[in-house]
Amino acid sequence: MAETPALDMALLVAEQHAAVYRYAYRLTGAVCDAEDLTQQAFLAAQRKIGQLRDPRRARGWLFAILRNCYLKTRRKRVPLSATKVDLDVDNIPEKQPDELAIDPEKLQAALNELPDEFKIVILMFYFEGCSYREIAERLTLPSGTVMSRLSRAKGHLRARLLPETSQPLETPTRLRR
């Protein structure tokens, strides 16, 4: 009986480790931290493998475990106040070519500047394909809060990734929790 979860874990790792690692990397912004976080997530998944009833939901299940592991890890560190993070969202982008190529490293740099609350929301949107309602439901947050965080986080990414085509805002903005 105890061997059963192990069978699942081998397959889970084989099928999901790449996606989980990518998500972890986008969360942590560092290769070592991403690998550590991925290991934590799979270890937690191994302990909870009995909870996975529908293998088609394995990826979302692992992502949820990963997010929780990440937040637990972050809570142990000295929190970085969002008010201390100056985010330059002075510019709003205008028109762009249809196929825009975004530098993954710049993207990571922009993500690293986001407080966790915003980063989690934006990664759930892009990585998991969650709507703001789904994000609100999974994070047990008000929909308005999620919409606000998502909008402001996207604005930050735009400002960081498309500065040459952006328009200045009337006043500088800071992301606040």
């Binding site: 699942d8 081998a10 084989a14 990518r22 799979f42 270890l43 825009l100 975004i102 996207k154 498309l162």
Partner: protein, 239 residues
């Protein structure tokens, strides 16, 4: 650039993360270390652990494995249920079967019980007669009559003992238990329906037993046959 284009571009960029070499192998080694049972049996029969390039296109393998896992999970409750059925059947077949107790058996058993009670500390007595185990109308009672609950008498979980005192100061105990018990069946046809006029005298006491409906009465009197009869109401059939 509109939001849709921007979202698509960011979404593509999100996925562009190079994987460290040997990540899957390290993960599996960590999991193996954490769970010693993630072992050789879990390795594919041919080849090594699945790596990035050989990952299945969908979750079909995992789904198939999990179906088997779910099937195996049912084995445990099914096994428990089967074991329980076997245990019940075994108990039914091999359960201790007690032969019905005859009159002498009842007297001997109650005598032993009486001795054990006498060796034990006194128990609290109640004045109000027990409703479940009523007194026998064939026994002489008075205002000093008390009762107390007893257990494990003749295999019954509950019963009652009435403490009686005669006008001459003799003491007696009247035990009342339910006849309806499969644990220690009593051959009711061996019991009279009223107190026998002559009790069984042994070890300084005289005992008699009878049944009335579902109740079994056993009277234990400290003394001889004369003392015994002193606790019985005079009736024609007792004469």
């Amino acid at each position: 650039m509109n939001d849709e284009h921007f979202d698509r571009a960011v979404g593509r960029a999100m996925e562009q993360v190079p994987l460290p070499l040997g990540l899957a192998e390290r993960l599996l080694a960590t999991l193996q270390a954490a769970d010693g049972q993630l072992a050789e049996a879990n390795r594919p029969a041919q080849g090594s652990w699945p790596v990035e390039g050989s990952r299945p296109a969908d979750g079909s393998r995992l789904a198939e494995k999990n179906r088997r896992v779910v099937s195996r999970r049912w084995l445990v409750p099914a096994s428990i249920a089967a074991a329980a059925l076997v245990a019940v059947f075994g108990w039914f077949v091999f359960r201790p079967v007690y032969p019905p107790m005859g009159y002498e058996d009842v007297i001997a058993d109650v005598g032993d019980f009486y001795d054990q009670e006498a060796a034990a500390e006194g128990q609290p007595l109640a004045v109000v007669p027990s409703a479940d185990f009523p007194l026998s109308s064939a026994v002489v009672t008075n205002s000093s009559t008390r009762w107390r609950p007893v257990s494990k008498l003749l295999g019954r979980s509950t019963g009652v003992a009435y403490e009686l005192t005669s006008a001459r100061g003799k003491r007696a105990t009247l035990y009342v238990v339910d006849l309806n018990s499969r644990h220690r069946p009593i051959a009711t046809n061996s019991l009279p329906s009223s107190p026998p006029n002559n009790g069984i005298f042994t070890e300084g006491r005289t005992m008699g037993a009878w049944s009335n409906g579902t109740q079994l009465y056993v009277l234990v009197v400290e003394g001889d046959d004369r003392d015994y009869r002193g606790f019985l109401r005079r009736r024609d059939h007792l004469a």
